[in-house]
Every structure is written in C-alpha cells, then in structure tokens.
Point group: C2
Chain length 267, copies 2
Amino acid sequence: MIIVGERINGNTKRVRDAIIARDAGFIVEQARLQAEAGADYIDANAGTDPAREPEDMVWLVETVQSAVEQPVCVDSANPAALQAGLEAHRGQALVNSMSAEGERLEPLLDLVKKHEARVVGLTLDDSGLPKTADRRVAIAKKLAAAADEAGVARENLFIDPLTRAVGVESDQGAAFLDAVAPIRESLPGVHVICGLSNISFQMPARRLLNRTFLAMAMARGMDAAIVDPLDGGLMAVVCAGRALLGQDDMCMGYIQAYREGDLEQWA
Amino acid sequence: MIIVGERINGNTKRVRDAIIARDAGFIVEQARLQAEAGADYIDANAGTDPAREPEDMVWLVETVQSAVEQPVCVDSANPAALQAGLEAHRGQALVNSMSAEGERLEPLLDLVKKHEARVVGLTLDDSGLPKTADRRVAIAKKLAAAADEAGVARENLFIDPLTRAVGVESDQGAAFLDAVAPIRESLPGVHVICGLSNISFQMPARRLLNRTFLAMAMARGMDAAIVDPLDGGLMAVVCAGRALLGQDDMCMGYIQAYREGDLEQWA
C-alpha cells in the first residue's frame, strides 16, 4: 500500500493560515509527522486564490522537501499551480489530479511526461460522476489510453474510481469495490487509489466506515490511498491488511508495529 | 451476513463444566447474550467423550432452543452426536461440519437431507489441508457435487475454505480470499463461511487481524462467519461492512446501531 498523507491542505483554516503567513515550522511539522507515521507521499494543496496559488505551491513543495525524504503529491485543480509545483520539485512527484473532463487531459499528461512524474486520474468525464462499476472501468480505460498516447508509463498512473457516499446511495460502496479488480486486470501496471472519506459522508461513526472500507478495497486490489496517516486506527488496518494479503514477509512489519506499541489500542 | 455465535463450545473449561453439571442457566445466558448481539445461529459443541457426547448434544440443543428463537448450529466431528442433535432440534438446524475426507461425506449428507438441515462443508480432503485457492475451489466443487447427489439444496450448503495462519505462512490470507469469489460464482446459491480466528494464530494483536480479515472476506463475497458476537469491535465491522456493501438499505441498520451506542467506541 502506498500512503499519501493528506494533512497539508489549504482548504482547512489552520493550514491556509500557515501558507499565507509562510509559517514553515507548521508545514515542516505536518510533513515530518506524516512521514514518521508511514506516508509515502506528502500531499500539498495550497487551496488559495488562483492568482497566488502557483507561488504558494512552490513554497509548499520546497518547504516539505526541506524537511522529509518523501516526494510531494502536488495537489491542485489549477494547471498553473501544478506546473509551478512540478518545476520546483526534486525527484519524482505525484500529481493530484486529472480527469477525462473537457480539454485539459492531454496538456496535463504532457506536463506529467515532461517531468517524468506520476499522476492520479479520476474516473470522471463530461457525463459526470459515474454511478456504476462499468462506467468507472470505462473511464479508467480512457485515461489509460490517453496516458499511453502521452508516453506516461502505466506504473505512473493511479486510477481513482471515486468513492461516493453510501449514506446517500446505498449501492456506491459496492460500485466502487466492483471496479477495482477489473481496472487492475484490464490495465496491467496501473495503480488504484482513492480518497476514503467521501464514502462515509453524512454518516455517524465515520472512522469505522472509513477503516472498514479501506480493508475491503485493499482486499479487492486497491494499492494506494489518500488518508490522514495520523489516524492510528486507519494505519493499524493498513498494517493488518498488508500482513493478511501477504505483502508483509513473515508479518515482520506487523510484529514490529506491535512491539512499537502502534497496534495494541486498536486490537 | 449470517452470524454463527461460537461461545457454547465444550472445549473451553467453563462451558464444559456447565455441560457436565447440566447448568442450564449458564447455557441459556450464553445463548441469549449471543442472540441479542446479533447471532443468527447458536453453535453448540459439547466437546465431551464420544460415549456421552450424543446425550450432551441433545441437552445442549434443547436447552438453547428453550431460550432463544435462533436455530442451533449442531457442531461435532462425531456422527452419532450430529444425528442425536438433529433429531432433538426443532426447525432447520445447521450442521458443523463435514469434509471430503474418507467415507463419511455421503452418510452425513443423507442425514442432513433427511432432516432438511443446512451444513458447513470444509474444503478438506484426503490430500490434507489445501494451500492454494485453486485446491480450495476444487474441493468445494467436490462437496457441492456430493450435496447435489444427496438432494441437499445449494442454499443449504456453506463452504468453509479454511483459514490458515498468516503468521506461519504469509500467503494463506490471500489464498483464502482468492477462493471466495470463484466458489460463489462457480457454485451459484452456495454460501461461504469461515471460523476467523485461525488466521491470526501465533500473532500479536489478534483481534485487529481478525476484524480486518472479516472485512476483507466480506468484500470478496463471504456471507457467513462463525464468531463471538460479544466481540463488539468485530460486530461493528460486520455492521459497517453491511452498510458499505449495500446490504443495509439506506444504512438504517448502521444508523440504528449507532443510536443504540454499539458503534461509537469502535469509531
């Protein structure tokens, strides 16, 4: 499992204030805490006005990379911010995100290719949010075909089949889960990722739903997730899931996490 | 999800003492607690010497049925105890278990058919415990063919693909999980069940592994489990899993469980 730590997001007030104030100490702390908790990428979303977002993104990327070894997940809906973030980044970044909507897919893939980056592709096109597993798989194939065309390697493509709230539409958990294996089987080499928390929107006891869904998606072949790595219960499920899926040789990672005291309170 | 409550098992000393002493109060309490916690079947395993086990099983079945509406899962490796238990049982019992080993499969299926009972079939034959998913599926097909032959309906057959300890062999979680969907798809109508706890044998923080594995197996199509329904964390995962798989219309069961205070501590 590849873990993308989601805590540095300017859409939350505390992070936004830190970005505006250039409070590097706060950003460095968030990056370090997430890296120590097991993040493989540190997401950076400035969430500021489009006019200043590219400059904010550069500052975020440089600040995170000054503190941790982990590469940054450069997160924006603004192509100029993505470009600025990629130009500032050392090593292989992850771009979050692209979709099959409108005319922006090809230029974005060209940018990803130019920087030899990796990219999250949302299964979203001009027909809107997909409801069925089949639609998710069909859009994933469109994204992969465009990535092939742009010369972006399959291993650098992360498909996000988009979680939708089960509290609003009861069939949306199954529709997501049923898309995962067909995507990985029909597009060898691609990864499957998601942001978990939409699944539990408007429901009580959300963390229980998020954790259970993470285990379920791992069992179906999802191999990456955008989560808060400081959520100990969630990371305990990731650790258990790796052991149960044979991704943790001799379960040594699980046993080590237990010895370090990371699992007891979740068992 | 069909939940078989496993607490009345004479292989534990407290239960064994209650059986020997004909302590109906203790057995009734265990049956009621499990029924209230959501068990669909109450497992009854006398675990006593073969000579007295049939009589003990009759007492267990009658004692459980005096207390709760739920049918009994008549649990023994002793054909005489299974027969006595089925004869004493009102309504449709579940028999736990049969395997494809030796010569006992056909007479046991005839007994199941005679009583119009349901039965758990272990994917175990004379070649021993299966290691691969393919072997599990192959033995499941043998069991289903024998059930067909005996006139036992597919919906009355529960295949147990047998969990083996991931702490001993790292690939055994995946081997179990990879068997579930092929069994359900190739044998329409059959259920898939398991006893969870072997998966975490010799590992620390076992309940975390058991709960995570339950979510994973549900996501692959397992629709029954033999568990302790008084394990609140495990039952919270069952409740979340139902909501996430679209088995809980409008998530009303989940919301109700939350209102009753059953989920908060696990979220």
